[in-house]
């Protein structure tokens, strides 16, 4: 699990004057489910394409299993890519597709048939071998594409937005199946997506890419709860961003002046510098009762931080909770987003007290 399987070292790709990715350093361990997450045009697909050998980096090296594969064509790499449009061969049967890679490796007909059947069974398509591609649904095509890739037992499976074309329900089902497949095969998956919920539900580690650079890297929980940068905080779910100025710093903690009051938090910055602080909506507590609960909680996250009062401007029922927008601060000039329980007595126009905990304030790197 700890063995490094893939290493990207200082990868840069330029197309003429346009830089697609710049200075990417990334290690992928064997058995890891890594998700490259980012908005479209962020360079995440370019990174995948460089891993697969379809794109040559302008600078840098790609190492797989300890070998420099930077100049190696896709066919010779221990990687297989599952394309966004699946790229199945429409003139072949399902089994013809799945067995294609085996055939190219010179494996005999009987063995090909056996392995293809086995791979189809793994993805839940046992007995579909004789079907034609155009007879299959989108989800089934997706499974065939997976079977075609895993049957040749690649060291790394590269998935280029493989669930993008599927309905929401099938997409969620396929997310679970991808994780199950990856764990049963003990395989290494690198998955590209622009959907942060998908990334959070399947990844062991998320690489957040923006503007051709890595913004944040780590387990999805960490990236979500303690985003490293302003971009990470806003791209991964909703977030309240407060801009402020550091008034004093020392001993690993800061005091920061914000529009809704001075607050203390962990982190390092020069006194007098401008910083951003992120608070997740579900971490903002609304109403007197919550504030007391926060105040009574004195774990290692520290005590309560009072955010003053706010006026409710919007309440939207969301099933398990209500989404609440408030105007906070002395002049009501700061808009905050919070999640409040359904049983809390609130209405648009009413005022509420706001609080959070020191540990839920996240200092963002600019």
């Amino acid at each position: 699990m700890n063995e490094v399987l893939v290493e990207l070292k200082n990868i840069t790709k330029r197309y003429g004057p346009v830089t697609a990715v710049e200075g990417i350093d990334l290690s992928i361990r064997r058995g890891e489910f890594l998700v490259l997450l980012g908005p479209s045009g962020s360079g995440k697909t370019t990174i995948l394409s460089i891993l697969g050998g379809f794109t040559q980096p302008t600078e840098g090296t790609v190492m797989i299993e300890g070998k420099d594969v930077t100049q190696m064509p896709p066919a010779q790499r221990p990687t297989v890519t599952v394309f966004q449009d699946y790229a199945l061969f429409p003139h072949m049967t399902v089994e013809g597709n799945v067995a294609f890679g085996l055939e190219m490796r010179g494996i005999g007909r009987a063995e090909r048939h056996r392995l293809a059947e086995q791979a189809l069974a793994t993805v839940g398509l046992a007995g579909y071998g004789a079907r034609r591609i155009h007879e299959l649904s989108g989800g089934q095509r997706q499974r065939v594409a997976l079977a075609r890739a895993i049957v040749v037992e690649p060291a790394v499976l590269l998935l280029d937005e493989p669930l993008g074309a599927l309905d929401l329900k099938i997409r969620q089902q396929m997310q679970d199946e991808l994780v199950r497949l990856q764990k049963t095969l003990h395989a290494t998956f690198v998955h590209v997506t622009h959907d942060q919920e998908e990334a959070m539900s399947i990844a062991d580690n998320v690489v957040l890419v923006n503007g051709g650079k890595i913004e944040d890297y780590g387990p999805p929980e960490r990236v979500y709860l303690r985003p490293a940068t302003l971009f990470a905080a806003t791209f991964m779910g909703d977030s309240n961003i407060l801009s402020g100025r550091v008034v004093s710093a020392g001993g690993g903690s800061l005091r920061v002046d914000t529009p809704i009051g001075q607050m203390a938090l962990a982190g390092q910055a020069e006194p007098g510098s401008d910083v951003h602080i992120s608070i997740r909506p579900e971490k903002i507590q609304v109403g007197p009762a919550s504030i007391d609960r926060a105040a009574s909680n004195t774990g290692h996250d520290g005590g309560a931080v009072l955010l003053g009062e706010g006026e409710v401007t919007e309440l939207v029922f969301q099933g398990t909770h209500r989404r609440c927008r408030l105007k906070a601060g002395p002049d009501g000039g700061t808009e905050l987003l919070a999640r409040v329980p359904l049983d809390l007595d609130l209405a648009v126009g009413s005022r509420a007290r706001l609080g959070t905990r020191v540990g839920d304030l996240v200092l963002l790197r600019n």
């Binding site: 896709p74 990687t79 297989v80 429409p90 003139h91 155009h134």
Partner: protein, 263 residues
């Protein structure tokens, strides 16, 4: 009332246009069934005697055989070269892809007479005599731009991913062409082949300029005409026309079946 008039005038216009296009062919076919020596009114048929005559004419039958050989082989050569050019320009465009495309397509604007004359001079220079091979080369040249254009237009980006997927799974260049690109492009390749074969089958000027002893069917019909009008010439012309139309029909039906199979 006004609409009615519009419909009637549209119908009349359509009939007049179809008549303008097809009447000469209809007359040619009709008088191939003439009973008598001259293919002129009044029609005194129907009779198959001129077809019997035509099929018993060894020179005409030899010309028909020559035409088939030239049509099939030049269509094969033009389709093969057109496919390879289209594949490389679509998949691995060279630096000057636009210019290459232009020079591949340019011959389509040059008259057959000029191409034929040019070939005549060149073959003369290299000491190659007039022959069916020379005619076949000429037909390959005039059909290559069409075959290239038809096949190139059908290469899409989604096919590119299939090629990449095949490469990724370990296929070499030739395997990708033979196992993936050719089967996927089969309808376009077949259409290009049929069109090239039909055009070669009908072509007259280049065939006239570049052949001497072994001639193709259009050239033979031209020679027969010099002896004067005869229903036998009509019969030979009808055979040329019928085979052209059948090829087009076969191509159309095949395309329909392939398209239907995909849905």
């Amino acid at each position: 009332m006004r609409r009615r008039f519009g419909q009637i005038s549209t119908g009349v216009y359509l009939l007049a246009m179809l008549g303008f296009i097809y009447l000469p062919v209809v007359i040619l076919v009709l008088f191939s069934f003439q009973r008598g020596m001259l293919p002129v009114p009044p029609f005194e048929g129907p009779s198959l005697e001129w077809y019997e005559r035509a099929f018993a004419n060894p020179r005409l039958m030899a010309a028909l055989g020559n035409s088939v050989i030239v049509a099939l082989s030049s269509a094969f050569a033009a389709t093969l070269l057109g496919f390879l050019a289209a594949y490389s320009l679509a998949r691995r465009p060279p630096r000057f892809a636009g210019s290459v495309r232009f020079f591949l397509m340019a011959p389509i604007t040059v008259s057959y007479l000029i191409i034929g004359l040019g070939l005549l001079v060149v073959f003369n220079m290299v000491g190659m005599s007039k022959s069916l091979l020379a005619v076949g080369i000429g037909h390959t040249i005039i059909n290559l731009p069409l075959c290239f254009a038809i096949i190139y237009s059908q290469f899409g980006d989604h096919h590119r991913n299939m090629d990449q997927a095949a490469h990724d799974l370990g296929a070499g260049d030739l395997q990708v062409i033979w196992r993936i690109a050719v089967p996927i492009m089969r309808p376009a390749i077949f259409a290009a082949f049929c069109l090239a074969a039909t055009l070669s089958w009908d072509e007259f000027i280049i065939a006239l300029l570049l052949s001497r002893f072994e001639v193709t069917l259009p050239v033979m019909i031209f020679e027969l005409l010099r002896a004067g009008l005869s229903p036998e010439v009509n019969a030979a012309g009808t055979i040329v026309f019928a085979i052209s139309m059948s090829t087009v029909a076969v191509a159309a039906i095949a395309m329909l079946i392939w398209r239907g199979g995909k849905r």
